[in-house]
């Protein structure tokens, strides 16, 4: 009887024991599955289901022959996880000594999950960080850009630390080059952490589209080297050159010096990053005399043969306004006035034009943007007749009270090269690759353009630009030496800009070369000695490069 009771108690005890265990299990299940369901399911989801965003590689920028001007490379960034450091003391000591800015940031963000020590590390910095052997310092690869062509920085531009365009073509076509990111829903494999079970595309991105420039990489380099040499030779402040194909508006070369190295951007001088051919305006002086001359011929105000009295003096008064010129000339036919760049003769003829000169300058595209696909284009300025003083018409006749970009000047000479057809410049080859890019209509008669082309040809063979002459080629051009305005607001005869614009032609091959050299050390010198030889040596290189022999 007693053993039966004990047996019963044992059964109850075992039953209660099992019940207890099952109850605990059930309670736990209840807590996990029902009460904290949201928390645990979210934890599970975050461990196995991940949304990944992938950015496509930035597209290349090419020259007209398919040579890369901007390509991708990986740069290395070093980072730490401040809230999970194994050896914080040694790390802080190292950072304080070698990366003080990162040390300062670490002190401010000690609880952060992630912090960059430095991005876009130099090879020296990488080896320094590798040698220190600190576990907390880790490396990741980041996309960045490499620019193989020297002298193309101001055109192509650069990208910032996040590989987004900062200026130049990189900025202009940032969206096209970047593409758009794709988003994937990934079910991760828990153990390896490298593979996945399932990958679904949530947002389908687009790859970046390359940009092809009209620039000829080799010609660009040749022009840049010549310009660099000239700027050093004359100890000049700066210089720029543009080569334009007037038949289709393609810009084949566009060099600025001094410029910057786009592959070394730790210390950037913003002044050197500008493409001054498009983004800066200048008063070019006598090189602009061509346009009042065309206006005067078109309006019938003068004929090329009409004799103009240049008063055989370097200085005179026309209608009470003082006009200076570089050299005294006597009686000259009007075509000689332009060839010899006489300000007095030019002023006397332009006086006959009056306010209509403004309309003619507008017809050449001055005072308006060319519409080139480049950020920061300047439109320049022409003083409107309603704001003219007594001096204005004379100033405009020899290139003052009118400022323009070198690109506008090249386009205006392109129009002369095209015998009156305006040219729309372009820097990128789009879907109309190689096709003509003329603006509609002819703005001047071919008769007038023939006359002015002859005058410009004589300027090279007999006038101020004799150094530009190349045997067996038709070279037509005009020089210009202009004073720059000083800080006091007055023209300073010791600060000059020397410009030469020319058209090079042979058997249907035609190019416009325009260059300027600004502020040289030597005094009492003219564009015929500074800008003309530069154009001549560029023309030699260009003709050999293009095999126009």
């Amino acid at each position: 009887m007693q053993s039966h009771t004990v047996h019963k108690i044992r059964i109850v005890m075992v039953f209660l024991g099992f019940m207890g265990v099952y109850s605990i299990a059930l309670i736990n299940l209840f807590i996990i599955q029902i009460k904290n369901n949201k928390f645990f399911s979210a934890m599970g989801q975050s461990q196995y289901n991940v949304t990944v965003t992938q950015y496509p590689p930035r597209a290349f920028i090419y020259d007209r022959h398919g040579q890369p001007l901007a390509m991708n490379k990986d740069s290395i960034a070093a980072f730490i996880t401040p809230n999970n450091l194994t050896n914080p003391i040694a790390l802080k000591k190292f950072l304080k000594k070698n990366f003080p800015q990162a040390y300062e940031r670490l002190l401010e963000h000690q609880q952060d999950h992630f912090m960059y020590i430095k991005r876009r590390l130099t090879p020296a910095e990488i080896s320094q960080l590798e040698q220190v052997d600190l576990e907390d310092i880790q490396f990741i690869k980041e996309p960045s850009r490499y620019y193989p062509l020297e002298g193309s920085g101001p055109i192509v531009g650069i990208t910032d630390i996040d590989n987004q365009g900062l200026f130049g073509i990189e900025l202009q076509y940032n969206e096209q080059l970047s593409g758009s990111p794709s988003t994937y829903y990934v079910e991760k494999e828990g153990r390896s952490n490298h593979c996945y079970f399932k990958k679904e595309t949530k947002v389908q991105g687009t790859t970046g589209t390359p940009v092809t420039l009209t620039i000829d990489g080799m010609l660009q380099f040749l022009v840049y080297e010549e310009l660099k040499e000239a700027v050093h030779h004359w100890k000049a402040r700066e210089g720029s050159v543009i080569i334009l194909d007037p038949t289709n508006g393609d810009i084949l070369a566009m060099a600025n010096y001094p410029d910057f190295d786009p592959n070394s951007t730790t210390e950037l001088d913003l002044e050197k990053t500008k493409n001054k051919i498009i983004t800066e305006v200048y008063e070019f002086g006598s090189v602009m005399k061509t346009f009042p001359a065309i206006a005067a011929l078109e309006e019938g105000a003068v004929t090329p043969e009409e004799i103009i009295d240049c008063e055989n003096s370097k200085s005179t008064y026309v209608d009470g306004i003082k006009v200076n010129t570089w050299k005294g000339h006597g009686l000259l036919p009007y075509e000689k006035v332009i060839e010899l760049s006489n300000n007095i003769g030019t002023a006397k003829v332009t006086k006959r034009l009056g306010p209509v000169l403004y309309d003619h300058l507008k017809r050449f595209g001055f005072g308006e943007k060319t519409g080139i696909e480049f950020p920061g284009e300047q439109k320049g300025f022409i003083n409107h007749p309603r704001n003219w003083s007594k001096q204005s018409l004379y100033s405009l006749s020899f290139g003052y009270e009118l400022n323009a970009t070198l690109l506008q000047l090249a386009c205006a000479y392109g129009m002369i090269a095209n015998y009156g057809k305006p040219v729309r410049p372009r820097l990128t080859l789009g879907c109309n690759n190689g096709s003509p890019n003329h603006m509609s209509g002819t703005r001047y008669s071919s008769t007038i353009m023939n006359i002015i082309n002859n005058i410009l040809a004589k300027t090279v063979t007999e006038g101020t630009a004799r150094r530009a002459h190349i045997q067996n080629y038709s070279i037509r051009g005009k020089t210009g030496t202009a004073n720059l305005i000083g800080l006091d607001g007055k023209y300073n005869p010791d600060r000059n800009i020397f410009t030469f614009a020319c058209i090079v032609e042979k058997n249907g091959y035609i190019r416009v070369i325009v260059n300027f050299i600004k502020e040289i050390e030597q005094k009492d010198i003219y564009a015929s000695s500074v800008a003309v030889p530069l154009s001549e040596s560029i023309a030699h290189k260009m003709l050999i490069h293009d095999k126009v022999l």
Binding site: P68, M71, N72, K73, D74, Y146, P148, L149, E150, H194, C195, Y196, F197, M218, F221, E225, I470, Q471, S537, H540, K541, L543, I544, L549
Partner: protein, 98 residues
Amino acid sequence: MKKNYFFLIFLSTNIALVFFHIYKQSVIIKLSYEKQRKEQTIEDYIQEKKELEQIMEQLKNRAGIKAFANNQLSMHKARLSDIHCLDAKEEHAISHCS
């Protein structure tokens, strides 16, 4: 007897189907991993190609080539007067010699 036999067949068919399903899933996962490994290999090759392209462009550095031509090969700037265009006779003579 027939009833037991039916249950046995039913159970074993289901077990076999379950095993086939597991086998199918494991084959899919295995192939998926293989595909991912191949994709990774392609990525690595693309990366290597990118690095080689960059090295190639660095080697094509025009300023370096110019310096080498000037300093090591004593080459100088060419002008149009340095170039002599061959006429048909001269061209023929040269091709005949070679």
